[in-house]
């Protein structure tokens, strides 16, 4: 959003538009260069800048399900959505993406260009390995998962391993830099052993990760813990590598 605002501000400054517009869009940012309001009335009124919005319903789906994209624009002459192409100025479309996608809408008009984004999360029921990087710019979700990585545990243990300290330090610094993010920590166990005991063990695992983040400086009220025990298995094969994937504390954005 701030990038968009900055770009609009710059565009307006360049064509020396009215002070009112400049003040309205630039008020939260220190305008780079000349403050348009100091230039005084000069140029004729320009065409109004286009506005655009895009929404998706639902925002998260399982693989194979579809979503409805819905977009609206004003003062635009040409609207495109990456991956779909040129579309009507206002419209809806049903799509079923095969993985999490950032739908990026660009609206061009006489008054300039504006953009809108919506991120759709596709839950793919396979391994939690990081998805292949895509060309679309990293949404906050992707950046989150890149910086705040799952912590894995030894069998029947909720003690943090030495290799977890790197993940914790990286996660803590990312969370410190993004103070608005809240996190749910899910505690998971492999499918051996008993369901009831594993729920308590998963709770201890998630709490161990939470305690490590708190001692690394993350405020405790930003961290919520849920134990799933062995009720939500990522990987269902009877192998150590699969069990290891299931024995983890998993971080996700708490919306």
């Amino acid at each position: 959003m701030s990038a968009m605002q900055k770009r609009i501000t710059r565009t307006l400054a360049l064509i020396s538009t009215l002070a009112v517009l400049g003040a309205a869009t630039g008020c939260h940012k220190k305008a780079s260069g000349v403050n348009p309001s100091s230039l005084g009335p000069a140029a004729p009124p320009a065409a109004p800048a286009p506005t655009a919005s895009i929404t998706a319903d639902p925002l998260a789906i399982d693989l194979g399900q579809s979503i409805v994209l819905n977009w609206r624009s004003q003062n635009a002459t040409n609207v495109t959505i990456d991956g779909i192409g040129e579309v009507n100025l206002n419209g809806t479309q049903t799509v079923s993406p095969s993985n999490s996608t950032n739908f990026h809408l660009t609206a061009k008009g006489d008054g300039g260009t504006t953009e809108a984004n919506v991120r759709v999360t596709v839950r793919v029921p396979v391994a939690p390995s990081a998805p292949a990087p895509e060309n679309v710019d990293m949404g906050s979700e992707a950046a989150f998962h890149q910086n705040v990585q799952d912590i894995f545990f030894d069998y029947d243990s909720f003690d943090l391993r030495p290799d977890a300290s790197t993940s914790v330090a990286q996660a803590a610094s990312y969370l410190t830099a993004h103070p608005s993010i809240k996190v749910v920590i899910g505690g998971y166990c492999d499918d051996r052993g008993s369901a009831e005991y594993n729920l308590a063990l998963g709770e201890n695992r998630a709490n161990a990760a939470r305690a490590a983040l708190i001692s690394a400086g993350v405020a405790s009220n930003r961290l919520r813990v849920i134990s799933y025990g062995k009720e939500k298995q990522f990987c269902t094969e009877e192998t150590e590598s699969c069990w290891q994937q299931n024995r983890r504390a998993q971080f996700s954005l708490d919306r």
Partner: protein, 456 residues
């Protein structure tokens, strides 16, 4: 445990008296662990030989034969599964079917090949949409006054009533012939039905009949526990704040309030007074055993030790002790304590012990135990019972796949449990057996887990 002691003795040259004593000691203590002890599977006498006659149809209503078939099958299986009878095979019974005492000639039944000590018989008919059933129990050895029991039942005609009448008559017979122990034929089993990604709470009769859903929460619900008076069911269910205790009223047929708290709250257990509930709560950051009233209020913490504390169960006889599972020393072990958190005693000496259930007479614990648990270990998880006073245990299941969640029947003679022959969680089914490990049979098909037997 004993073999490391024994091996150096054999290597020793002067292996004589000391060695012999030591060996004897090792052998005796080995026996001690494996020794059997008396469970309540028998009534203290040799099993009574009982003949169960098919009941005589007493009306020509077209419903009679179908419902009478249900009744006969249910009565026979109730008595055969009770564990206290030597039941006479139907092929050995006399040809004549008596319907009323006047038609009964007990000598026919006490003579070979039936050789019965007791005979259950009667008549069954449907008239005007009602079942009328008369049941009798005769002592076949008492020629002068053979009648032990006579019961009359009058219910609306349905499959379910036919089954319930049979259960009630069976319970009367068991009560008379078992030395006063209440029958279990009217008891219920509550369990988790695995339904795709969801798990709902279901209910069935003790013999696996009449399976039906109680909840439809579209979530994962676990650990159903029925209150002592059969009025309420506590369980844990996954919501947006993780697993929490929920309460279902069987009288109102809907959910009722249970005060929520922070953290993960799971594995409820009823005190025998029906007023208190013990459960595992991590509201303080670590899963501990807490006790609250049945509405979730007045919660107090009982344990405080780092690591998982979970799956409590009250001593149903006294209500003053709790058995539970704790991971305070690593792998989960079985412990008991008083309800104020004192007198903690560890019961298992190793392995992976979970899912404890306390026998109705207070003497035994049934639990799931994998004695050789670990990565790559060949252990299997089986059902064991332990005599609390001596900590002696016996293994009840062997090589039948993974077993879990034993729960005692109200009479303490049976144990219901979950079993998956191939170890796959989705193939879990509910089995029952006598508390000495005999007469195992499945009550459900695959997709059923965590059984809990009602208190009565």
């Amino acid at each position: 445990m004993h073999s490391p002691r024994r091996t150096p003795l054999f290597q020793h040259a002067q292996f004589s008296r000391i060695g012999a004593i030591f060996l004897l000691f090792a052998f005796v203590s080995l026996l001690r662990a494996q020794d059997t002890f008396k469970t309540e599977t028998s009534s203290g006498v040799t099993n009574v030989r009982i003949a169960v006659a098919d009941f005589k149809p007493s009306s020509t209503d077209q419903q009679t034969s179908g419902l009478k078939g249900t009744f006969d099958t249910t009565l026979y299986s109730d008595l055969a599964n009770a564990g206290i009878f030597d039941i006479v095979s139907k092929s050995l019974l006399p040809q004549i079917i008596p319907g009323v005492p006047a038609e009964m000639n007990v000598q026919q039944w006490s003579a070979a090949p039936a050789s019965a000590a007791m005979v259950a018989f009667g008549n069954f008919g449907v008239q005007g949409g009602k079942i009328l059933c008369n049941g009798f129990l005769f002592d076949a050895k008492n020629l002068q006054y053979p009648q032990v029991l006579a019961k009359q039942y009058n219910e609306d005609a349905s499959e379910d009533s036919a089954r319930q009448i049979a259960h009630r008559f069976a319970d009367e017979i068991i009560f008379r012939l078992s030395g006063g122990s209440q029958g279990i034929a009217e008891s219920k089993i509550f369990y988790v039905k695995i339904n795709g990604g969801n798990k709902e709470i279901w209910e069935m009769d003790y013999d696996g009949a009449n399976q039906r859903a109680l909840t439809s929460l579209g979530s994962i619900s676990l650990s159903p526990r029925i209150s002592p008076d059969n009025s309420r069911l506590a369980f844990a269910s996954l919501g947006k704040d993780g697993f929490q205790i929920h309460m279902y009223s069987l009288i109102l047929g809907r959910m009722v309030a249970f005060t929520g708290t922070g953290g993960t709250n799971i594995t409820p257990a009823w005190a025998p007074n029906g007023k208190d509930i013990a459960y595992s709560s991590s509201r303080s950051g670590d899963p501990e055993i807490w006790i609250s009233d049945a509405n979730g209020a007045l919660a107090r913490r009982i344990t405080s030790f780092r690591g998982p504390d979970v799956s409590p169960t009250f001593n149903p006889r006294t209500g003053s002790q709790i058995a539970w599972i704790s991971g305070r020393t690593g792998l989960p072990q079985l412990y008991i304590m008083d309800t104020d958190g004192s007198a903690i005693q560890r019961m298992t000496d190793g392995g992976y012990a979970t899912s404890v259930s306390w026998s109705p007479n207070g003497q035994f614990l049934a639990f799931a135990w994998d004695r050789k648990y670990g990565p790559g270990a060949p252990g299997g998880q089986d059902i064991y019972i332990m005599e609390i006073a001596t900590k002696r245990w016996i293994q009840l299941t062997h090589d039948g796949g993974r077993c879990d969640f034993p729960s005692w029947s109200p009479d303490g003679r049976h144990i219901v449990y979950a079993n998956t022959p191939d170890g796959k969680a989705g193939h879990m089914r509910i089995m029952t057996m006598l508390a000495d490990g005999t007469q195992k049979r499945a009550l459900t098909g695959p997709g059923a887990d965590m059984p809990n037997w009602s208190w009565k």
